[in-house]
């Protein structure tokens, strides 16, 4: 390939500048600020700042509230990822069988993805709000003691469902594409080989879409970890009694509500490490796509 040559030495840097500037201002600057803040201790009014080394980190890691938030996050993320993927796969296999109106059906399926997280959260909040929610009314009429404002498990269930619901569309798209990439003759060959439709799915189709499933698992976990702030804030605001306070939400509460800037910064540094690790996993295992020829 011939090397592109710019007549002007300055031009390539000028062309790169906007992207570099955006990255610097919105990524590296905040990240470095977080790193810097995480080793400082500041009073709530910002009058005094003191260097404390790793004290913020050791305080966080020995704080039972932080560890329980970590547990909450794991439960929330895994439940959300699974709940977002299983129905998506089910819908995608069903969409394969649709003969007429395939495009229409798929378009409808994609819509929830366009809903902003906070709006999605509000939607579910209204439906299941104990005082005014239609579904909450129906649940109580059916004898279910529904009260996510007081019951932590129900609150968790509600945010998981709201967070997963939004992500189903995205997963659906990927599963549809993955299913379409399986040659029809493979499934037909399996049918002739005496495998019923359930067996065909688990022995032929599912192994062949495994790379996609793994990719989605990583993406959904990252989503549940970091992109669900809006939903949690709108639906439960981390409550009741911190039952839905995930790590990301705790960063916000500790930093901006409780004004413990150092502790909050230390938490975001830990989150940053988690993101980096997940991204590394994704690059290492997902980018190296599994090829079946």
């Amino acid at each position: 390939m011939p090397k592109a040559a710019f007549p002007n030495k300055l031009l390539p840097y000028l062309l790169l500048a906007p992207q570099v500037l955006v990255t610097l201002v919105f990524f590296y600057w905040p990240a470095s600020q977080a790193l810097y803040q995480s080793v400082l201790k500041e009073d709530a009014f910002g009058l005094k700042t003191e260097f404390v080394g790793l004290a913020n980190f050791s305080a966080i890691l020995s704080n039972p509230n932080y560890l329980s938030s970590l547990q909450t996050t794991l439960i929330f993320s895994i439940s959300t990822a699974l709940l977002a993927m299983a129905p998506a796969l089910l819908l995608a296999t069903a969409a394969e069988k649709v003969v007429r109106g395939k495009g229409f059906y798929r378009t409808l399926m994609i819509w929830p993805y366009a809903v902003a997280p906070a709006v999605a959260g509000l939607l579910w909040l209204f439906m299941f709000n104990p005082t005014m929610g239609t579904f909450a009314y129906m649940l109580r009429a059916a004898g279910v003691p529904w009260d996510p404002l007081l019951n932590g498990d129900q609150a968790m269930l509600l945010v998981v469902v709201a967070a997963a619901w939004k992500q189903i569309s995205y997963n659906f798209l990927f599963f549809v594409a993955a299913l379409q990439s399986i040659p029809r003759s493979l499934v037909e060959a399996a049918a002739i080989d005496g495998a019923g439709s359930t067996k065909r799915f688990w022995t032929i189709v599912f192994p062949l879409i495994a790379p996609t499933s793994f990719f989605l698992l990583v993406v959904n976990t990252v989503y549940a970890f970091f992109d669900t702030f809006g939903i949690i804030d709108a639906v439960t605001a981390g409550g009741p009694a911190r039952a839905t306070e995930t790590l990301v939400y705790k960063v916000y509460i500790d930093g901006f509500v409780n004004l413990d800037l150092g502790g909050s910064a230390a938490q975001s540094v830990i989150l940053m490490a988690i993101v980096i690790a997940l991204t590394a996993i994704q690059f290492r295992y997902v980018e190296r796509k599994v090829h079946y020829a």
């Binding site: 003759s185 493979l186 037909e188 060959a189 399996a190 049918a191 002739i192 080989d193 022995t203 192994p207």
Partner: protein, 355 residues
């Protein structure tokens, strides 16, 4: 003991397109039947209906005397070899062969025995632990065949199994499939668009066109007496020469017309004609035609000289042994035995027999 019998089989797709328009056909037990036709003639659809992968809109399909119209593909006791082989990419060759047997709860020792046997026959023993992705086209083809034969089914169905191979390998595998079928004596239905493959493989050749059987019979019977213009031009390479009797340049042939008064088309195969050196050596039962050479195709052992009937009529190909040095524009004389001509009705395309 499993003949395949089709009677008045139809396929109508949603939207009213009729892909198969009433096909009746009996493939005797152990016979190798080849369905041949141009793309879109319904041959693959017909095969898929026998396999159970496509619903049957009308008529009945019997395999071994049993009506299979409403049976699942798995219950029809057939095995199929697909054009793209359809090997399971995430399984090893051994697992590919075992899959169908395991689904049928075949005893372990029996599975091992059959896989062993198939691997021996097809010489794929050393690849058993590889995955399809690590095999060449020819090896994959063998595995696909292996997956069919381990099942020991009542019938093999082949859907253009050689069209993904290169020309040389195709010839080898063709011979191999034929040998294998002779050895196993399993009734086979084979679909192809390649007339050469059809001619060389078939016990029973079926030429399909636009969803209907144009002609069925032994390959040589079809070659020697094509029932229609379509068959005449489809079977044989280069194709049979055709001369419409009312067209330009046809006057020297007018005496060869068959019975009836309709417009007719004469046909003659390139190998039945010969070029004359000067004007000598014409036999009494031959007709001599004047041609202006328009092109020469040298194949190697033989050449095909194409020339126009002198008065601007249709092009005729003549097979010439060896290397022809004729140049385009040269005037030549070609002789053809009167008995080698075929006559067809120009309207219906059907063959006309001399009374």
């Amino acid at each position: 003991m499993a003949a395949i019998e089709l009677s008045e089989v139809r396929k109508v797709y949603a939207g009213g397109v009729e892909a198969v328009k009433g096909v009746s056909l009996t493939i005797p037990d152990g016979a190798f039947c080849v369905l041949v036709g141009p793309s879109g003639c319904g041959k693959s659809t017909l095969l898929r209906m026998v396999a159970g992968l496509e619903g049957i809109s009308g008529g009945t399909v019997r395999i071994g005397g049993r009506v299979v119209n409403d049976l699942e593909p798995a219950s029809r006791d057939i095995a199929m070899v697909f054009q793209n082989y359809a090997l399971y990419p995430h399984m090893t060759v051994r697992q590919n062969l075992e899959y169908g047997l395991k689904n049928r709860k075949t005893p372990k020792e029996e599975i091992a025995r059959r896989v062993e046997e198939a691997a021996r026959i097809l010489e794929i023993g050393q690849y058993l632990d590889r995955r399809p992705g690590q095999l060449s086209g020819g090896q994959r083809q063998r595995v696909a065949m292996g997956r069919a034969i381990v099942r020991e089914p009542a019938a093999f169905l082949f859907d253009e199994p050689l069209s993904n191979l290169d020309a040389k390998l195709r010839v080898t595998m063709r011979a191999e499939i034929r040998r294998l079928q002779r050895r196993l004596k399993t009734t086979s239905l084979y679909v192809t668009h390649d007339q050469l493959e059809a001619m060389t493989l078939a016990d029973q050749l079926v030429v399909l066109n636009a969803g209907r059987i144009e002609q069925a019979g032994s390959p040589m019977a079809i070659y020697e007496k094509p029932a229609s213009l379509f068959v005449a031009t489809f079977i044989g390479s280069p194709a049979m020469n055709l001369v419409p009797l009312d067209g330009p340049g046809a006057s020297p042939l007018a005496t060869l017309a068959g019975p009836g008064r309709g417009r007719q088309v004469l046909g003659i195969r390139p190998e039945h004609m010969r070029l004359l050196d000067g004007g000598a050596g014409v036999r009494a039962d031959e007709i001599v035609l004047d041609l202006v050479v328009s092109g020469v195709e040298v194949v190697g052992a033989e050449s095909y000289v194409t020339g126009r009937l002198a008065h601007g009529g249709p092009e005729l190909a003549v097979r010439v042994p060896g290397y022809s040095h004729l140049e385009p524009g040269a005037a030549v004389k070609a002789a053809a035995p009167l008995g080698a001509f075929h006559r067809f009705d120009a309207e219906s395309g059907r063959r006309l027999e001399l009374a």
